[in-house]
Symmetry: C2
Subunit: 265 residues, 2 copies
């Protein structure tokens, strides 16, 4: 479960992840200690990384992204209710505070229970139509969870194939789009039992593979949580092993922001 | 309105704010740019500052602190619904993520509409009984707002006297308690018109005065927002000039954390 190394923040063939190794250092430094200067600063360096001024940022995925967002507000970028109560909310709050003058538009379109093929079904409305400059996707836990529960007959091969097609379609329909593929993760508590393994790891590997093929930035959330459980029990980060607590969501946001800020467009 | 300098994070007579000048540097650096190392780290330095492992932290105040918190959960520390949707929520999320192993207990007991005398009325239940190690208070905007609206006949002298008594009582009943006095602030938009000034500034001055007298850490939120409006219009930070937006609340939390982490117990 810990074989995803910090170097998952690999160097892109296209080169837009030229400083990904710096971001990788972030993740490997997840002892959560760090720069002695930092405590004197309310905010991290205003590095733009993958997000340029004026960009539209779309966060996509399942319940972890959804986090109770208000569907009725989904057309209003930056609206707190639209953003839900998870990592998307923390990412948006920091971006809008730190880069208040950047005219960013941030959307959350995660939907609880979704698997990768369901993202594809609603991609025209919930991605392409928004014309995002950056699309971040966290998907995969339901592809295996619903299978383990007997409610789905997909395989990791289907997941990988569907995910690859979704990313290719996104790049084709949104030329120049910046892609972020977030690693699916679980914590060994709650709903997550030994029967999830080693199969779950194959989904993580598949996500990493399609990210590499697509020149997407890969954010290694599993490695992050594997480090985090050295500090506090799994339930501190995700009560049921799948859905992050407030602390888990905050940690995800900080890691995502560090990775995205460290990557160069 | 901008006469509160960064040096409001003064050196305490008692000395527990020995590194307050570092925190002051934070605030004066509110251009939101900073340490080049920071972007590589998901979290600020794990400086404990005023908050020790095992501490109970209480955030007190009016609607800005309240921010829609769930009263039914108020007995459950660290509960996201109990924390509301404002700066208390952002402070708690970061503390619980960054210091996951510190066994912190964080409470929000702000109540919308309250003035300083109303804090005093409920202080036994909503402060002393919790036995907090650190008490942070943000109070004052209603003391003047309700007066301007004709619903209250208090004066800045009453505010200062009541605030001084509240802090003295807190120190007496909770020996060793660490106190944080947050500067009342407004932004010149929405409900905040010219008729608020210069009277509003006298409330800020009074808060600073009682903080100094009580050896409390003073967090200069007005200075922070005065800098922030150079980056984005007042409504970006507080739609009605009083209640912070998500971006405003996030900025407050980061500034509070930087100040509290920079101060030494």
């Amino acid at each position: 479960m810990t074989d995803t190394s910090a170097m998952d923040l690999r160097t892109s063939r296209r080169g837009f992840l030229g400083t990904a190794t710096a971001a990788a250092a972030t993740i490997s430094a997840m002892s959560l200690s760090g720069c002695s200067e930092t405590a004197k600063r309310p905010f991290a360096k205003n590095s733009h990384g993958l997000i340029a001024n004026g960009d539209t940022v779309l966060l996509q995925g399942d319940s972890i992204t959804d986090a109770g967002r208000n569907r009725e507000r989904e057309g209003t970028p930056n609206d707190p209710a639209m953003l839900g109560g998870g990592y998307a909310h923390f990412i948006a709050a920091r971006l809008l505070a730190e880069r208040a003058d950047a005219n960013l538009k941030i959307y959350n379109r995660g939907i609880s229970g979704h698997k990768v093929f369901q993202l594809a079904e609603r991609w025209d409305k919930d991605c392409i139509a928004l014309k995002p400059n950056l699309v971040s996707i966290l998907i995969g836990v339901n592809d295996i969870w619903h299978k383990l529960d007997g409610h789905y007959d997909g395989t990791v091969e289907v997941y990988e194939k569907d995910y690859r097609a979704l990313l290719a379609r996104t790049k084709k329909e949104l030329p120049g789009v910046k892609l972020v593929v977030c690693e699916p993760f679980v914590l060994r508590t709650g709903a997550v039992t030994e029967k999830w393994f080693p199969e779950f790891d194959t989904y993580r590997t598949a996500a990493k593979k399609v990210a590499t093929e697509t020149d997407a930035l890969f954010v290694p959330f599993q490695s992050m949580f594997d480090e985090a459980v050295k500090k506090a029990p799994p339930a501190h980060w995700a009560g049921d092993g799948v859905h992050p607590t407030m602390a888990g969501a905050c940690l995800m946001a900080e890691t995502w922001l560090a990775a995205v800020s460290g990557a160069k467009a």
